[in-house]
């Protein structure tokens, strides 16, 4: 089987999520890549050195500068004329593009795969991860998005892929990029952080969130996450949300502070290796998944913990 992996990049470097998608694709067959963007020579070279990669198709055009699905999908659909599977990391940009490609080639996409069980069979979470379904597709071609925490990252080095230019399918003039407001964050990216400290509604304000969570995260060298309630209340930007509808994370250690543990939150973090929960309510559902629990008032416990680490 010939797979085509859509490469997520920031114009300069290949994003880690791509490496997990490459691992998933390699379980299906030959791995070919699609790099679409503007001024992406460097990205194409980096992509070609990912271990195990064959051809790297590069489409360099202003139409692809912001990864608009309206422009990228027709390009990918064309390339799917001679590939059998389109494999995409389940990031926000990947989830925006993949279903559009699937519709263009009349394929029912399989979203968010956790494992490859066979050439047409996958496991995937449903109901916010409260159930795992094994599904087999009857379609002749595959479109899958990959849950990146479920696959090891392919080695970014050692590959000997060949770069090949493909012609642009042009700007479809359906959409244009207006602006981006990226959250300033010097901390490890949530989806690749080894340790994450997350705060919930209990923090009470953005000031308290910063005053208590940040020093603890600094001590642990951790990334910072949050529950939806904390994001909705404006304590932190939306990008911090962990859960069914936020980021899916699986760090070595996840510290939940003042988070109740609603199923939608658990969906995003319950595959973490070690879960530490601090909550004043001994019956909070978060304790049902926690390896280490501490019951008490976070406003006294967190400063104490930070000072003792």
């Amino acid at each position: 089987m010939k797979t085509l992996v859509w490469v997520e990049h920031d114009g300069g470097a290949v994003k880690d999520a791509t490496l997990a998608a490459v691992t998933a694709a390699a379980k299906l067959g030959e791995v070919h890549l699609l790099v679409a963007g503007q001024g992406v020579d460097g990205v194409a070279q980096a992509a070609a050195s990912i271990a195990g990669v064959g051809k790297v198709h590069v489409a360099d055009d202003a139409a692809y500068a912001h990864a608009l699905a309206e422009n990228v999908a027709p390009l990918a659909a064309d390339l799917m004329g001679h590939h059998d599977a389109f494999v995409v990391p389940a990031t926000t940009t990947g989830r925006n593009i993949a279903p559009r490609v699937a519709a263009l080639i009349d394929v029912q996409q399989v979203s968010d795969i956790l494992s490859v069980e066979g050439p047409d069979t996958f496991t995937r979470p449903i109901y916010a991860g409260n159930a795992i379904a094994t599904v087999r597709t009857r379609d002749a071609k595959l479109v899958v998005t990959v849950r990146t925490t479920a696959f090891a990252k392919a080695d970014a080095q050692g590959g000997t892929g060949t770069v090949e230019a493909v012609s642009s399918t042009g700007d479809k003039s359906l959409s244009s990029h207006v602006s981006s407001e990226m959250a300033e964050n010097a901390r490890p990216e949530l989806t690749s952080a080894k340790i994450i400290v997350s705060g919930g509604r209990a923090l009470g304000s953005g000031e308290k969130f910063a005053e208590l969570i940040e020093p603890l995260a600094d001590k642990l060298g951790a990334g910072i996450g949050a529950s939806r309630a904390a994001v909705d209340a404006g304590y932190v930007p939306n990008d911090y949300q962990v859960g069914q509808t936020g980021k899916i994370v699986a760090p070595e250690v996840y510290v939940a502070v003042g988070i109740s543990g609603a199923i939608q939150h658990l969906a995003g973090m319950k595959d973490s290796k070690v879960i530490v929960a601090i909550n004043k309510d001994a019956d909070a559902p978060i304790f049902q998944v926690a390896d280490i629990g501490l019951v008490g008032d976070l406003f006294t416990l967190i400063p104490e913990l930070t000072s003792k680490l």
Partner: protein, 249 residues
Amino acid sequence: MKLLVPVKRVLDYNVKPRVKADGSGVDLSNVKMSMNPFDEIAVEEAIRLREKSGGGEIVVVSIGEAKAQETLRTALAMGADRAILVVAEQKVEPLGVAKLLQAIVAEESPDLVILGKQAIDDDMGQTGQMLAGLLGWGQGTFASKVEVADGKVAVTREVDGGLETVSLTLPAIVTTDLRLNEPRYASLPNIMKAKAKPLANKTPADYGVDVAPRLETLKVVEPGKRQAGVVVANVDELVMKLQAMGIAK
């Protein structure tokens, strides 16, 4: 402004899903079903856009068993004008739903279709993007802000890393994220009024769409359970545990 809003009937988000013992799926007998939360947000947004544009019509659509009628009535009670129920015996997958919606769009010619970003039962997250692809329209997915002006819609999207704003030529597709708005509750008088609003009954055959499933579910199991952990008495014990694991010095 004319708006089309597809709404799905799903297991209520507060209900803990139970996997059936025979591994055939999640047990949906005698459990509370509700409108997919993202679709409530879509209906709310449509109502606000209709108000801002000074009038127009909101058509809501649901594809599923006959009981999806309740979900449509809820949307009508919130403020939608008219409903279409496409009754399907079997579960219809996102590609099939998108094809039915494509046919309905051809009949209704809306300026904007607003869908949820995902249905919280199957967590597919595909239908809006597929519909946009089939129609050849622009798509503003995971929206946290929607502004219509001069034949265009500006959509602020929640993306990894922050927010991104795109501008789409109308007609277009929008899918909702959680922070787009707070959906209203339907008032009792409006629930009564909704009973008189038009609801058309259709089938996939009426639209000539083949909705045969492409995916076969071989089995559904519960995820691996985490082992019960320990509760420590104080911060010192927690620090010791963290040190033992090599997390703290």
